[in-house]
Symmetry: C2
Subunit: 347 residues, 2 copies
């Protein structure tokens, strides 16, 4: 209604703590919680305050969602696939192998029922979840040696997060869970053979090119991973409707802002990485096809055994087919032409 | 500051009129003004009200920016290239031929100084301007006959908006300015030979496939056109800081939302169009190259004569080169692989 309510109802003072899964050094992805905080604070004259805390300040980064569900914090900023061990359905809120790219994932979430479908599941976990960032297609990671065939993958010890490890295992890779700060020494010593992190701008900070120079692409397990704001469900329900709407608007803006920031920073970073020794390599068609088949095998198992996974994955799959059909027309032909001009030195 | 101001300052009642350049029938692009309106109204308990008006309700669609600059309305929702006849610098706020795609344009605007650079120019026109939507790469339009060579373009009468006409003229096309509702009868009678509109979802409403079945792509003059909110500068300056911040946040969310909506609707629309007679055709490499060279000729003239154009265009060009370099790596290789699976019926 248009009637002006009393001040206490209009802009109540609310202070929430947000546990991030990321260190402050990742200004891109950690920065998403800061952007949301700034947008909410400014729009409410300082009355709706969200305080971001880096991984480890309140809870470890990989327990952020548990802390929000338990009410230890009111919300967290995290990636849903970190929790796939609880139930692989979690991963569908972020990214699974060979799924949608960033634009596809956003279209599905905002306009094809994705947000509601995900919240049917997340509400049962005590959480209300909204997109709060995207990195774009990630890189495939850093390898100490070249990987040319599926055979070369066998026995490779690779630091890889989330659901992708389950697919890579089928090809003989030995997935390792290693925190960001420990990856470099592990690669240097040869305790591991490879590691994926994010993309050029974030990877550059860790200096992997010095110890594992072969930089593979694409990160087929993260075509457009969503970073999420996960709010404790009871806290969400207690929020005045105006603040709920403002939160959704600010989260949608934050979601866009993170991708915009990555897109502004990655191009210069890839050039610096190559100048300092990174050797870019595409995964071979043979490897890509084998990974795709392995992923489909994993999906088949889950569809057969997990109805919640199947319901959401069926919705993503239906759109995936249409999305990568239409993307072949105007978008791909424009981009391809522009890339050819770029290669020919005409831009 | 965190001190709570008095209610009159916190959520002042403000009602603004927004002149859209679009008819209500375009729920995608006209809908952007409705989305902004909803976000602002809900976040302020109904106190910050923006009333959208369709093209023609207050002023004709192509005079929306003039009405906002003059203060006839407080703001408009329009495409900056409509006004390139005043000064081609306007077009850089929307799209120019062979420039950035949607992700590139957003990265440049939000994180590489684009918004500020554009407002240096737009403030002199009495306007404060923010992105408020994007359509993605548009289609190249509907042709009554196939166009295979540059020679085939000579003498073609084509309905085409904005700056692109100036480039097409160099190749012998005769650009025509025709309002949306008049395009179909003009094509049917043969008064014109071709017409570009937007993309599959919007084009479908006008039924062009019945009278001009050859549907070309890509719309190289609109790789990622920004739809803009243009606010009267004095009105913008009078807005309380909290409302200015909220407006920017809601506009950034709206900007993302429009592209998400297009991306959710275009895939199904292209399938229906093809089923009802549209014949998809890519512009030939010969035509694309000739258009690219013609565009570069036009840019050369403008760089030499228009310092404001040159300053902004130099900034876009510098990023365009980096953007289409990095896009070749992870994004393109992931999308290409997924499109191949789509074509092979594996998605």
């Amino acid at each position: 209604t248009l009637a002006a309510p009393a001040i206490a109802q209009s802009l109540p003072k609310i202070t929430w703590r947000c546990a991030s899964s990321f260190p402050k050094s990742l200004d891109t992805i950690y920065g998403g919680a800061e952007v949301l905080s700034k947008y909410l604070k400014e729009a409410t004259d300082g009355n709706f305050v969200i305080q971001p805390f880096a991984a480890g300040e309140i809870v470890p980064g990989l327990q952020a969602a548990d802390a929000a569900a338990a009410g230890t914090v009111e919300l967290c900023h995290t990636v849903a696939y970190y929790y796939w061990g609880k139930d692989p359905t979690w991963a569908l809120g972020a990214a699974v192998p060979f799924a949608l790219n960033a634009r596809g994932m956003n279209a599905w979430q905002y306009h094809l029922g994705g947000i509601d479908l995900l919240n049917e599941f997340f509400n049962k976990q005590g959480l209300q979840v909204y997109p709060g960032g995207n990195t774009g297609v990630q890189m495939g990671g850093w390898f100490r040696k070249e990987i040319k065939t599926v055979e070369d993958l066998k026995g490779i010890k690779m630091r890889v997060g989330g659901f992708a490890g389950k697919v890579l295992e089928k090809l003989g890779v030995v997935p390792q869970q290693i925190a960001g700060g420990d990856i470099y020494p592990s690669l240097e010593k040869g305790t591991i053979d490879a590691a994926e992190w994010v993309g050029p701008y974030d990877d550059e900070k860790l200096g992997f090119q010095k110890v594992a120079p072969f930089y593979y692409y694409p990160g087929w397990w993260e075509g457009g991973p969503t970073v999420s704001f996960m709010v404790n469900k009871a806290k969400w329900d207690s929020l005045p409707p105006a603040y709920q709407s403002l939160f959704r608007t600010a989260a949608q803006a934050t979601d866009a802002d993170m991708l915009q920031k990555y897109d502004s920073l990655n191009p210069a970073a890839i050039k610096r990485l190559v100048a300092s020794g990174a050797q870019l390599r595409p995964f071979s068609p043979e490897i890509m096809s084998a990974c795709f088949e392995a992923a489909n095998g994993v999906y088949g198992e889950m569809e057969a055994t997990n109805p919640e996974f199947k319901k959401i994955w069926d919705s993503i799959k239906a759109f995936r087919n249409e999305h990568f059909l239409y993307a072949q027309v105007a978008e791909y032909s424009f981009d391809t032409f522009m890339m050819i001009q770029q290669r020919n030195g005409k831009l």
